[in-house]
Symmetry: C2
Subunit: 494 residues, 2 copies
């Protein structure tokens, strides 16, 4: 897996500098081509990626060992994402066009004010280890930033540099073919290049999906800039799952198997992996745990994305197991490759140490057994900010559900019912975010509204028609707010 | 002016801690009362402030010497602002309610996803020296945060502590009367209290209007937290004005007088004060400058908000004047109180030193004389991020206007035509923001959309009706996006 990184040259400081200069140079042109041209270019990118599907999947599999099935699905997802952002651009609400008419108020004369959103400027995107496509070069951050009109410089992840280069080449060619300026998407490589990138004055925002440690290092580098810029980091999440009594009673085996599958898919190397699972004590809960255990016990060690992740996983599991309050349910002690295998631990809710609240990236799940609602709610107080929280519940559990939602509402970005947090749909209503340490942002990093991260408002005051940008003119058809009221274009069906 | 601050006790660390604890305790209740109850409460606040108008204005004038006229207008503005945010809450779009229906996609099954925005948690607001009402206790940050459902803790500015206490008492009583939880609005006092406040874990966002130095000190304190939180700082702006040749030809005296008035109103102590004014060389430009000079020459020294601002102003003017490229047009050298009087300087555009691009808070204006468009555009390259840029232009100047808008588009938050930047209307389309050092944010701090600073998304996935928050249910009437399309409530006129 690692020889690939020798094939891509690290970008030196001068190289990063000239790449950032180019991004800044072409930023006005990428803005000026307009949203419809960018929408068309994103559809061209989707087609170009599809045209190179077998190349991309083969290259990514050689670097990540994630397998054909997963990588084909990931590529489909990135193409789908390009098309969704094309729709977002065509629909036009994302510009937040607003017009206040000149009028008298008790505050005095209100001038004609017209507001919309404009691109923030060149964006640095950091590819993630665990998604060589969907959270890397052709991933959500890149697509949202290009859609917004911001040039993108991606820092390739060392675990899949060839895939990054291949995708960057395909996308850059497609963007140019579609009439977008050269250098709308560029690539840098190397750890120092990443630090140079986020400190370059041309860069106006940074999007990162990765570890808490990596995120903190980038935040420190950004902190040394003269101008603070937004850092959109998606960092660390334990994604609690709560199985409520009636659900455990009616669906123990189904839930137990589902939990174990969600915790071990892609070898647990997903930001939405459910790590901490709250299960009632007693027979019904035991049945859930038994179903989980049998899945874990049957699994062999799977490939890790890189040696660092593999070692961190072993260390994390070892550290938890050294706590006498925590019991190991699977794999068998002294099983072959014990420390690399998918691992299921168990702990009593009232005894659970803080340590289980730290993300261990990889196939680890911890069953936390609670006695009653009070015990559960007390246990949930320890949960840090998280991307998701999931409940398995029946109507009989209603009061408990309401209590839990209230207890977790300040902590999570997405509540899931009778499902699993892994598998993040790219859509208008998605939220992939959450309070620290899940993310550093009040915006999602997946789905239509993630574009807002790369935009800022400008208002034109008392501008005559001949000065106004086209989208702010009276007769321009787009969803807009006029004197406080939302008005849809006349062509709209609503 | 300064004895007032002796009357308000500084809040010690324990005090700040218990105030923040209370804010965190009541946060769920302030959220749960719902947007319509908060709208009603804001209208009650507006009425309560109006009921104490004479008290408030008298107290504020004693502390700030801003005068009855200005302070009455400022109070009217804060009341107007309460009413506007009540409208924002009642209209409901700010919640960004979004629903994606369960369906099959090429990515697999899309679950039912429902997204809306929820309050971020307790917010710290720092009162500004120059607006004892509109940017202090009853100001925009407070009102937007309460509207969003976030409890507010205001750090009172030392220049108007009695006004702060009076307004906090009036508002807290009004909010309680309207049924909002006690401690929805609290006050702390003292510099250390401000630092304690932004480092308290209960605080989830900080809004600040003040100096670059003050903002950087707060950013450093926030940087020492374990969890990064958003810092919405509105810091420093020189608000360039560009007078184009045809405008100078047709309206020299009117523009010159208007410029000088905008630069000296409230003794120049406004964040939107136009400091740097680009005027063509030649007769028409000379006429503009003469009109400015005659206004400045006729003005005496006016009161400053506090001794620190007064001293910083003198030092700033002195530093600029010591540069031989800069000439003083008014006041006369050796005039009484020369260093405290409204001051007009002049410099050639091609010779302008960087120093004129730093904000000097107070009644200073610099006429920058340009020879042609190239000279002007080259000069504009020095301009840092700014809240506003203003053009005085006629149709004949069209090509120049387009070039200037393009040159400044990445630098400013609001373009004003044939007007002045001072006087910021509170409205739906307003933007009071801009790139660093103007602000630290991609959101406005004035107007309807400033509420977005205090909200974050939550998505409910596959939640049955009995779990969904009311606003996310199918039959709830509010502007919403359904499967990508904006849909207005049936009661809406559009």
């Amino acid at each position: 897996m690692s020889e690939a990184s020798d094939l891509i040259e690290e970008t030196d400081s001068l190289g990063v500098g000239s790449i950032c200069d180019r991004a800044l140079d072409i930023a006005p042109e990428l803005d000026n081509v307009g949203r419809l041209a960018r929408a068309s270019a994103l559809r061209t990118v989707a087609l170009a990626l599809e045209g190179h599907r077998s190349d991309i999947v083969r290259t990514a599999d050689a670097e990540t060992a994630l397998g054909d099935g997963r990588l084909n699905a990931e590529l489909t997802r990135t193409e789908y994402q390009c098309d969704l952002f094309a729709e977002v651009l065509e629909e036009g609400s994302y510009l937040e066009v607003t017009r206040d008419s000149a009028r008298k108020t008790v505050m005095g004369d209100q001038p004609d004010l017209r507001r919309f959103l404009v691109p923030i400027g060149p964006v640095a995107v950091f590819g993630a280890s665990n998604f060589p496509l969907a959270f890397s070069v052709p991933g959500g951050d890149t697509v949202a930033a290009i859609a917004s009109g911001c040039p993108v410089v991606v820092k390739a992840h060392p675990s899949h540099q060839l895939t990054s280069q291949l995708c960057a080449d395909i996308m850059a060619a497609a963007l140019a073919k579609a009439g977008l300026p050269d250098s709308s998407l560029q690539l840098v490589s190397g750890q120092q290049a990443g630090l140079d990138l986020v400190q370059n004055p041309a860069i106006k925002a940074v999007a990162f999906t990765g570890s808490l440690v990596g995120g903190k290092a980038l935040m420190a580098a950004i902190g040394s800039r003269e101008d603070p810029i937004p850092f959109y980091g998606e960092l660390s999440s334990i994604n609690p799952i709560i199985v409520l009594p009636s659900a455990a009673k009616s669906r123990a085996v189904e839930i137990g198997r589902g939990l174990a599958a969600s915790g071990t898919t892609s070898n647990g190397q997903l930001c939405t992996k459910p790590q901490t699972v709250y299960i009632p004590v007693g027979e019904d809960g035991d049945a859930v745990v038994e179903a989980m255990s049998s899945v874990f016990a049957a699994m062999n060690a799977q490939p890790y994305l890189n040696a660092g992740i593999s070692m961190a996983f072993s260390n994390g599991v070892h550290r938890l197991q050294s706590d006498s309050r925590i019991h190991k349910l699977a794999p068998q002690p002294d099983a072959e490759m014990e420390w690399q295998r998918p691992t299921l631990l168990s702990v009593s809710c009232s005894d659970a140490p803080d340590a289980i609240m730290g993300e261990v990236f990889g196939p680890l799940q911890v069953a936390v057994r609670y006695t009653d609602l009070d015990d559960l709610v007390e246990g949930l107080r320890l949960i840090p900010g998280s991307l998701t929280a999931t409940m398995h519940a029946e109507l009989l559990d209603k009061e408990m559900v309401n209590t839990i939602v209230a207890a977790l509402r300040t902590k999570v970005g997405r509540f899931i019912f009778n499902g699993y947090p892994t598998g993040v749909m790219v859509s208008w209503g998605q939220n992939h975010g959450g309070p620290w340490p899940a993310t550093t942002s009040i915006h999602t990093s997946v789905g239509a509204t993630s574009i807002r991260r790369f935009l800022r408002p400008i208002t034109f005051q008392s501008a005559p028609e001949w000065i106004l940008p086209t989208v702010l003119r009276d007769d321009y058809e787009i969803p807009k707010r006029i004197d406080g009221a939302l008005v849809l274009p006349s062509s709209s069906s609503s």
